[in-house]
Symmetry: C5
Subunit: 353 residues, 5 copies
């Protein structure tokens, strides 16, 4: 994250607000544009940017831009759709938080499609910006891999409500797709958390478990920091007074708000669980130290006094009568043995061994 | 939990919003439907789905569905009662949070009937969805065991206010039944917490107590995460401006809000108590380590110097005059004994032994 | 607490809402009722329930019920004063949170009179329910000991404003009496906290102090959980739009809100203080462990190497020239002594001894 | 604090609300009253209470009471200025929280002038109550030392805006003086915190630093608990709709709100810093324990095995051929020396020594 | 920080509110003033304060004051622009929190330009005050180094929207410049945090890492405390109802609010990360202690019993038959060796070595 920030700072320093500079992933493949126009009954899809489709009076025009390297094209698309320069700047600056902004001629939505790398416990994020106006929607995907394809497919198939409704429902469908990716991330992370928990309870390798646990805590923190602005944005979308959003769509938006809240719930639940695990881990580590110290103490308490007695009879004084007793050696051995047994019983009673 | 999520993800991926897929417990027994129609004076109960009852002008029709495996039947019931597809989808998706949603023709309520397994410290949840319209109520129970039977019994007996009031009061009575199950769970968990506390104070087996304590913390966290959305939903029901809810019912809803707040209070109280116990546990573990270390130190401090003295007189130098003193051995023994007694007094003074 | 909950659950299971079942302390002595009627100039007090007093046009009728075992009488009193069944149910269910509920014909207030057992650090609570209507007030005390007597005395004496004002002021005076009991509890607990603090600073018996500290934390938590709903209730009373509350009384209610806030402040202050003490306690325990370990280390570091040297010259090799030196023994002794002194100086410098 | 509470409880028990009992510092010197009347051009100051000044139509009358032991005089002043009994009660009860209360005929403000005893780390508080009406202000100072003198001086000198404005500005000037005392306290405490931090970083006497740190945490907690109600009161004063406060004064009140927020900021900053210090302290203590244990382990690991070898050759078996080798002793010495050097190198590599 | 506070206290004590005393950095160089007047098409820049520029009807006059040592000049500028005395006082008192204040004739903004010293982990702050009225803006920079130069340059170049818009946009551009400095600080601190994390994972020098980590936590805390009032101020600017702010500028202000929220997000994320690191650090320290103790225990457990056996056969009893066995020595050696191997296997199994 810090590299990106630093790059942005260096690239944008001294430029006035609204300057278009792309700060995201650098890709070799050129940007791809897919232009779609559909009505309830018709569907037309062209590769490349086809602005004249805008002239059609009826139906929805959806311009889907995959990859943001072609700044000029994006500027042109922005101008054709009268997207405000500040919004266009945000499209290209891929370090934005999720947000909804209302402009006079449309709603501007920034969301992030997430994938989690379960092995490295890292979240990969692709910024997706949507500008939904009357009868049109422009989507900007940071990466060229076509994340929004499932919705385009549904649109082409004419299955469900998508074709019968306006650009607001299309925007909803796209955001819903993105929110679904959060469910995937939550599922994957929950699986990881479960593994850490099981590993801790089975007293496996404590060190690896520890590293994994802290990495999980970190990634849950990051996940939560990504979700909070999304919740704000989705709630604002649901409550917007813009007449772009039809009443019949609002029920679906409420559903969306619910989903985000449900994911946040899941995250908070897992965070509580991990905090609990961490406390358990600390208690376990303290317990292990305690066990180590007990063993040391048992051994020392038994043998140090005995060694001392042996040392006594190893002294070379001329006049040590015990040394000359016939059974002196056996008496001492017996005494040592009794002491040892006594202490073993004592420690057993204290449940140390 | 994570298994369910994952299953849902796989089952629903690529489907448009509003698709009906059941994601809950898989049961062998078929879904059961009980249709009830009642007025102040009459009561009629039929097994199976009897839609024509709807035609009756007077009285309330309550359709109670136990088990959600028969998706087609549920879709038909939904259509007959004009339940919105999004609500129907939520009925089948049993991972919902508790919530209240208002539709034009009715109130849609999702709650969860809880049971706690005191031995395993796990919460079992059954999702119950209610759709209350003018003169009718449809209830969908996830499991085939008839959780809502007590209310049906009260309705049949005509005891209390149930038969005299509308579908809003019926909905209240059902939610109240569910909230009562939370009291049971809280009671059971409080009993467990009390046992853990007693076990800790009686210095019982620290390790088992620890495991139990952390398991309890976990289950209280989960309980709380389940209650928070319920509080929101119940409060919203109390404050709804829908004309489905009569003013005389509102007093009962206020009571319901109170009950949920009381349970939350109890949970927070227990959580504070458990946090306190955990700190006590840590202090206790630290104390035990301290005791172990003190014993080790006492033993070492007494015997290591004495052993050293014995070692001195075990050296084989030709010229060690003390060895040849007649009472040298006794002098040394006496010195050792005095040192030992002195150190014992010192440690006793420091309260180490 | 959990016993009460469980009892309630068992006793009320399956009953419809509004059923009257007493769940509180079981007392042998029967319930006592004192009926009082007063105006600015007159005062009349009768033992037993005297409903006809209600007929009097002028003045205030105060019915004071001590002990709730006589469910029938309470039901009758409720009917006579038109108290809503839900309110009556709450009167008898003594596990309620403090709350204010507004009914059409009066205000219903539940508060708890607290006493603290300083030795056992337990809070004893007596639920007091007030129903204040136009010209009358009914008070229900859980226990037969007459907690509200001071207000009755003031009323009888005609001292202060009580007789000149309406039932709202009487309700205020009663709640004020209860809030005063919270000051007592806070004072007692603060005294206990001060003792724990002094004991900790004087390095007294750490174990007993620890137990006391955790018990105090627990009781402060419980105290706070009891106060939070009271604050809500009192604030709602101050802000109520009911015309039962006269403007001149509102100033007193504001004072009440202030008092509750002040007590909460005191609790939070003490909780912060106890958290601080706990951290201090932990630091102290860590310090003691450190001291123990240092002593062990000093002793071991000094004597283990010296013992080793003594061991060397205790070996039985034929050819060990040092053994035959005339001053060998003294040289070794001197060397050992220097090493010991050197290490003592070293440890002194490190401030270990 | 607890003593005061307890005294109050005992003194006020059984009295009706509004009874005037002084609960503050007991002073030998009698209460002093200074009466001041001023207009834009004139200034008159008399010792003693001069109520007829109230008759003057123009100008502001400021009655400044230092010391609250003369309850009768205070009651008379209260009656003359029509101060509500509840406010008068609060004047005398010096355990009030800071607050603003609006009465029909004036604003009643309770603030606390703070001084900090840097050595003992205790906050000394003097309660100051202000009642500002149209054209008059009465100030009640708990202690006879004249805390408000600087404002009286400024008023006498006619410097600044004080004489040109109304009683609202006078009240502002007095509260501003009090808030200035909070800056002093914050400065002093910050200096103490800085010293603790420096002492911790310079690895000074850990025990004294620890005690100081916890005392500082405690005093910052108390300071914060005193400021929170003040912020509430000052904000309410700024937002009051009372026509006593002129619009031109409101700008100054906004400034006051700002100052309190700034002090709270400073406190929170210091609290975060102290929490950080505490964590650092714990880490430092753990580190020291670690160092101690390492030294013990190094010494033990080196010498215990060597002592064992010496012990072997100290055994008295008849048949131990090594003992009779000519260089046996030297071989063993050399072996011991190598082992010692090897272990030293090993520990050096592990950075233990 | 505390020095500044203390200086202010001493310098301002006893002065009435609104007195102009400079409390900031003391500089030798005199204050510099740059006067700029511009319209859409023209641009004029003069060194020194040129008040008559104010007379020009068209265009914006920007007076930029660098360095605040010349109190008289500042007072004159304040009078010429009718800046309220309280605002002027805040200009000179450089310990202000960021804030926005609305006056009748303009908006007054205090912000802080931050720089971070990455080596010492200290934040250097320069207070910048802006007073934006109709057609004019006065900026006061605490330090003489010209922080606002980039905006002046952009204004001179006529690049972007700056010259086409009013004083509200100029104010926005200046605040935006300052907020950009927060991005720099966040970037630098994130880099430092990353280094600490890497160093911790690579098990580098734990002590230096620890010091660095705590210093970072501290500086993040301070950073956050600086940002919170800025967020409040910027949000208030965005929502102001003052007609000085044109609607077209509001979109840019919304962008500014977003930026501040994004920085706060970044800070919170880093703080969570550092808290996680701290827990990891503690776990690591506990782990190291555990390892040390294990080594000690392994060595002691192996050699102390063996030494005891050697001690036995070093005793000088006359009658110890084993000593005279021909292979006694070898039998004992073999026994010792087996015991040692057995214990090594045992410890290996427990994964201690």
């Amino acid at each position: 994250m810090s590299q990106k920030h630093r790059r942005r700072k260096n690239m944008k320093k001294g430029l006035p607000p609204g300057s278009l500079v792309y700060t995201g992933h650098q890709m070799d493949s050129p940007a791809q544009v897919i232009s779609i126009a559909y009505t309830d009954t018709a569907f037309e899809e062209k590769h490349g940017y086809v602005p004249y489709l805008l002239q059609k009076k009826h139906g929805i025009l959806w311009t889907d831009v995959c990859g943001l390297t072609d700044t000029k094209l994006i500027e042109q698309i922005g101008n054709d759709h009268q997207i405000h320069p500040l919004a266009l700047e945000d499209v290209l600056d891929t370090q934005q938080r999720s947000k909804l902004e209302e402009f006079d001629n449309g709603l501007f939505f920034i969301v992030h499609h997430l994938k989690v790398d379960s092995a490295a416990l890292e979240i990969h994020s692709e910024q997706i910006a949507l500008f939904a106006g009357k009868n049109f929607l422009v989507s900007f995907q940071e990466d060229p891999d076509d994340t929004l394809a499932p919705v385009r497919k549904r649109c082409e198939d004419g299955f469900g409500r998508l074709r019968k409704k306006g650009s607001d429902y299309l925007a909803y469908a796209l955001v819903d797709l993105v929110v679904d990716s959060y469910y995937s991330v939550l599922d994957d992370l929950e699986t990881q958390a479960l593994e850490v928990e099981n590993s801790l309870h089975s007293n496996g390798a404590l060190q690896e478990t520890k590293a994994r646990m802290f990495a999980l805590k970190r990634v849950f923190n990051e996940f939560r920091h990504r979700l909070l602005p999304l919740r704000e944005a989705v709630t604002r979308l649901y409550r917007t007074e813009s007449d772009l959003v039809e009443d019949s769509t609002r029920l679906y938006l409420r559903d969306l708000v619910d989903h985000v809240a449900q994911i946040l719930d899941g995250i908070d639940n897992q965070r509580d669980m991990l905090a609990n695990l961490e406390a358990l881990f600390q208690a376990e580590a303290a317990n292990r130290l305690n066990n180590v110290m007990r063993l040391l103490t048992v051994i020392s308490t038994i043998f140090i006094p005995l060694s001392f007695i042996a040392g006594i009879y190893g002294m070379n004084f001329d006049n040590m009568p015990e040394l000359h007793w016939h059974y002196g050696y056996y008496v001492v051995l017996a005494g040592m043995f009794s002491a040892m047994v006594g202490m073993l019983i004592y420690f057993r009673k204290k449940r140390w061994i």
